[in-house]
């Protein structure tokens, strides 16, 4: 595998910023908000979507000429559902605690609009290699936002990153806590995720003013 051509590389880098699935295309919001209270959950969800979108895009792209238009939604749903069942069973087998935290949101990857959105917008009209890159790019863009939200929520909400205390011990009052700092428990509540994504959108659109809506 040599260097990717410029156009191909763009398929991966565009969704990371300018065409981000969550903040620009407004897809895949549900899971981005619900499970980001812990950085570990965000990472696992990002990997799961990477798997499903990468392989799903390739499968749909390979089948694109033989799917009759009338039943294409059903075919897409079946492909995604099968991939998600695999992800779910693997999670339940190797990371049971995490699968409990993610609970129904693993199943909801099926209806994650990024996946159906990319199938319709890209995989149905392009070859397998490009579809694979597009899938990887969008999944990475999604994962970046998830990790950003998860980072702030876990750091400010419980003072840990990936479960490792980084600001000191809140009970023993070491580290940052000795100055009187307390964990902001509110960060772990669902509404804060919405506000953090709103702030990320603010920053993103300030830096790239072409994205501003009227």
């Amino acid at each position: 595998m040599g260097l990717l051509s410029k156009k191909d590389a763009k398929l991966i880098t565009d969704p990371l910023a300018d065409n981000n699935p969550i903040t620009i295309q407004v897809l895949g919001i549900c899971s981005a908000l619900a499970i980001t209270a812990e950085l570990k959950a965000s990472l696992v969800m990002g990997i799961a979507v990477l798997f499903v979108l990468g392989i799903g895009n390739v499968v749909i792209s390979l089948m694109r000429n033989i799917i009759p238009s009338k039943i294409r939604i059903i075919v897409q749903l079946i492909v995604v559902a099968s991939l998600v069942i695999i992800v779910d069973q693997v999670l339940k087998a190797y990371a049971y605690e995490l699968s409990k935290t993610l609970s129904v949101f693993v199943g909801l990857i099926i209806t994650n609009c990024i996946i159906m959105g990319r199938f319709e917008a890209f995989a149905l009209g392009n070859g397998p290699w490009k579809a694979f890159l597009d899938g990887i790019g969008n999944a990475l863009g999604y994962a970046v936002i998830l990790l950003a939200v998860g980072f702030f929520r876990e750091l400010l909400g419980s003072g840990t990153l990936f479960g490792i205390p980084v600001l000191g011990d809140p009970i023993e009052k070491t580290g940052l806590y000795s100055t009187g700092y307390e964990n902001n428990g509110f960060m772990l509540m669902p509404p804060m995720a919405l506000i953090i994504v709103g702030l990320i959108i603010w920053v993103q659109r300030s830096r790239n003013t072409t994205l501003i809506e009227d």
Binding site: T23, V26, L27, G28, I29, C30, S31, L33, A34, I73, I74, L77, I78, A81, S82, V84, I85, D88, Q89, S103, V104, G107, L108, I110, T111, N112, C113, M116, M189, P190, P191, M192, A193, L194, I195, V197, G198, L199, I201, W202, V203, Q204, R205, S206, T209, I212, E213, D214
Partner: protein
């Protein structure tokens, strides 16, 4: 009866589909620019949820739960088809939505025209699949409760999209900073509404009910006082 009322209010206010578990956010954000379309989509969501949740409950009860296949014969008691839940649920949902689309097109062409692309989109709306999955994970017990859960979670979603559409219509006249206009401010306002809905959390707990406390167990330890000095000494036992 009381559990129906409890489930009804719990699903609308405390476990609100949008503010507590973030289901259906994509269509929530995309369709909430005008109150009229928001009402139409909200009504469609209530309708689809009210039909698909009980249907999937029946599927879960008689096909997917561990030991559910007992009605076929006792040798099937050990089968656990739970892993097929996703495919079966999404299949019922896709079929029901297709049916709803046909019915709406026939009986109300104006509604069909205003909803346009949204009807097929409801099939992949995570609120619909989420409703069925939560019904399964929370182990809703009866068909009646399943119908109740479908309708009430739909009403919760409807309330949310109605509120945000009304706010978005008015907020056009406010001085929102340019990068926040449209999507950004919607996220933040939804977050603030979510914080408001958190206040409902105390609604169904505590109150005037007297909770019967389980009788506390009192443990009595018998101690014997040693009365004689000689009993207190180690004796060699033969």
């Amino acid at each position: 009866m009381i559990e129906h009322i409890e489930l009804f209010f719990k699903s609308i206010f405390i476990d609100n589909m949008v503010f507590a578990v973030f289901l259906g956010m994509c269509s929530y954000l995309a369709v909430s620019k005008k109150v009229a379309t928001a009402v139409g989509l909200g009504a469609a969501v209530i309708f689809v949820l009210a039909i698909t949740v009980p249907l999937n409950w029946l599927l879960d009860q008689y096909l997917l739960q561990p030991g559910a296949l007992v009605w076929l014969g006792p040798e099937f008691a050990e089968y656990d088809l739970g892993f097929l839940s996703f495919i079966m649920f999404i299949a019922t949902i896709a079929t029901m939505v297709q049916l709803v689309e046909i019915v709406v097109e026939k009986f109300s062409p104006s509604l069909y025209n205003s909803l346009g692309i949204f009807l097929p989109l409801i099939a992949v709306n995570c609120a619909i699949l989420g409703g069925s999955l939560f019904m399964q994970s929370r182990e809703i017990e009866t068909l009646g409760l399943a119908v109740n859960y479908g309708i009430s979670s739909g009403i919760g979603w409807f309330l949310a999209i109605l509120a945000i559409a009304a706010i978005r219509e008015k907020i056009r006249y406010s001085n929102v900073p340019a990068p926040l206009r449209g999507l950004g401010i919607t996220f933040i306002v939804t977050g603030l509404m979510g914080i408001g809905f958190l206040s409902f959390g105390g609604m169904l707990t505590g109150g005037d009910e007297e909770v019967e406390e389980a009788p506390k167990e009192v443990v009595v330890v018998e101690t014997t006082e040693i009365e004689k000095e000689e009993d207190n000494q180690l004796k060699i036992v033969n």
